[in-house]
Amino acid sequence: MVSVLAFDTAGSACSAAVLRAGTVQAHRFAAMARGQAEALMPMIAAVLDEAQTPIEALDLLAVTVGPGAFTGLRIGLAAARGLALAADRPLLGVTSFAAVAAQTPPEAAAGRTLVVALDSKRREFYLQAFGGGGALGDGALVAPEEVPAWLPPGPLLLAGDAAPTLARLVAGRAPDLAGGAGLADAADVARLAAATWRPGLRPPPPRPLYLRAPDTTMPRRPAAGR
């Protein structure tokens, strides 16, 4: 009878869900490129209210850790860490890759390798491959020219909001598209978190998955000669 509150703001959407005993009790999803800092808390309040679940009655909190927009994934993680602190609940992180991959069950992939491609808002792709019910290697930031070498051999099924762009890039491989918007959804995040929950679970705070170092320029010379 595990009760989970999950939410996501890492990609181009904002969503929240309450799951109890394997059933989604309340759920909100809105596509948005920005504005998650305004939308998230009222959305969480709404799903808790609709599910008639006070925060104290939850067993677990779950949030996406990215990859995605840096600010967006921090909005979700900061909210999650604040809730975990204030309500003294365990908090689990789920990658945006896993959340999107969960929309395609293993049997639907049917002999193809599932590749989740997420929009990095730049020329590169965020990529991770899945097969046999789990991830095949780590997620990565991959430049378009490196994509052919990065992709696994054999038939491909592409998911995620960058899947159509990726499909055009590797049209020669004739990949299939999983379809849909390819955005992470809190309902899937809740199910994934519930599946890993066990009594007494106290994981360390989830780490953001940025996959890209901050843009910085080192000073050429810290003295007067410039």
Binding site: E38, A39, G82, L85, R226
Partner: protein
């Protein structure tokens, strides 16, 4: 009544617990990210935002522990919601909103500048109105403070902030980051009269500031003195640092003197000059402005240095002042990268969000 204050708008991750009764500051924890930013010679917004997320919940827990209270004892939570480096502001605002939601207590979105502006009332008894010189790494303004949420801007920088002049000057002289303390330290051994630097706008009418010309003059002097590798001799750097600090001090004093005349005429009930913001932590400048206030018959008030630089206590205090007036915010509040204290004041084109 106990209030949690959160500050994440620049390179300090800070949380504090402030009470409206008895000893006011129950805990004031500041984690400085100086080490994270030092390799870059200044604050890198994305590096700052990442560090805020990594550290903030631990800093909040530490503030609660130092105050000897639990999260259930809080009556409200306040956070800097702008202006500032917006990536960090998002982190503080979201953790604050989450605590407010989980504990069912009010959330107060605090203007970082109002945190500085009201901070002298946290440290000492001070009635409205007062004249405020707010000088920090991001801002340089003269304001008449009429009340909570009621400000009239008398002057602002039209280009760089005063703290920015310190930071850029220190970088130019190879004195390191952060620049304010570095310049102050080097200036102690220096001769301010050796290199006369300009005092932009000094003697001109009005209360606006300009520091970019000063930076250019400093660069020219430094380049003339540098050796082939671009390095400066220690005594040259010290003399230039002293010259820079004196020039900034004279600019601040000249413009503040104009503002005092204006303030006197329009707010005859006011009798205090307050300086706040990180630049007000500089002992030489405090002295110079205190002398100016004494000369003009005004009380001089500067919060202790720890409350001048960014901290959570001033945010908690501003939150408390707003809460008393019923000024609370919704959980849909949108952080504001630009958020002037006096929205009626004309924008200063070259200063952007600094005005």
């Amino acid at each position: 009544m106990l209030i949690l204050g959160i500050e994440t708008s620049c390179d300090e991750t800070a949380a504090a617990v402030v009470s409206d009764a008895g000893e006011r500051i129950r805990a004031n924890v500041v984690f400085s990210q100086i080490a994270e930013h030092r390799p870059y010679g200044g604050v890198v917004p994305e590096v700052a935002a990442r560090a805020h997320l990594d550290h903030l919940d631990g800093i909040i827990a530490r503030a609660l522990a130092e105050a000897g209270i639990g999260i259930k004892d809080l009556a409200a939570v306040a956070a800097t919601a702008g202006p500032g480096l917006i990536g960090g502001v998002f982190v503080g605002v979201m953790e604050a909103k989450a605590i407010a939601l989980a504990r069912r207590i009010p959330f107060i979105a605090v203007n970082h500048l109002e945190g500085h502006a009201l901070s002298p009332r946290l440290a000492s008894a001070l009635d409205f109105p007062y004249l405020l010189l707010l000088a920090s790494g991001g801002h340089c303004q003269l304001l008449a403070v009429e009340g909570v949420g009621r400000y009239r801007r008398l002057g602002t920088t039209i280009d760089d902030a005063a703290g920015e002049a310190f930071d850029k000057g220190a970088k130019l002289l190879g004195l390191g980051y952060p620049g304010g303390p570095a310049i102050e330290r080097a200036a102690r051994a220096g001769d301010a009269r050796r290199f006369p630097l300009p005092r932009p706008l000094a003697g001109r009418p009005g209360c606006d500031f300009s520091f970019s010309g000063l930076k250019t003059a400093l660069r020219q002097q430094a380049q003339a003195l540098a050796d082939a590798s671009g390095a400066l001799a220690a005594d040259d750097a010290a003399d230039l640092a002293a010259g820079l600090q004196a020039a900034i001090g004279d600019c601040l004093a000249d413009r503040t003197a104009h503002a005092i005349a204006l303030f006197r005429a329009r707010w005859p009930g006011g009798n205090s000059l307050v300086v706040a913001g990180g630049v007000a932590a500089n002992a030489a400048l405090r002295q110079q402005l205190a002398a100016l206030a004494a000369d003009r018959g005004l009380a001089f008030i500067a919060p202790p240095p720890a409350l001048c630089t960014d901290n959570g206590a001033m945010i908690a205090w501003a939150g408390l002042e707003r809460l008393r007036l019923g000024l609370v915010d919704g959980l849909d509040f949108a952080p504001r990268p630009r958020w002037p204290l006096d929205p009626a004041a004309a924008p200063a084109i070259g200063a952007g969000v600094k005005a």
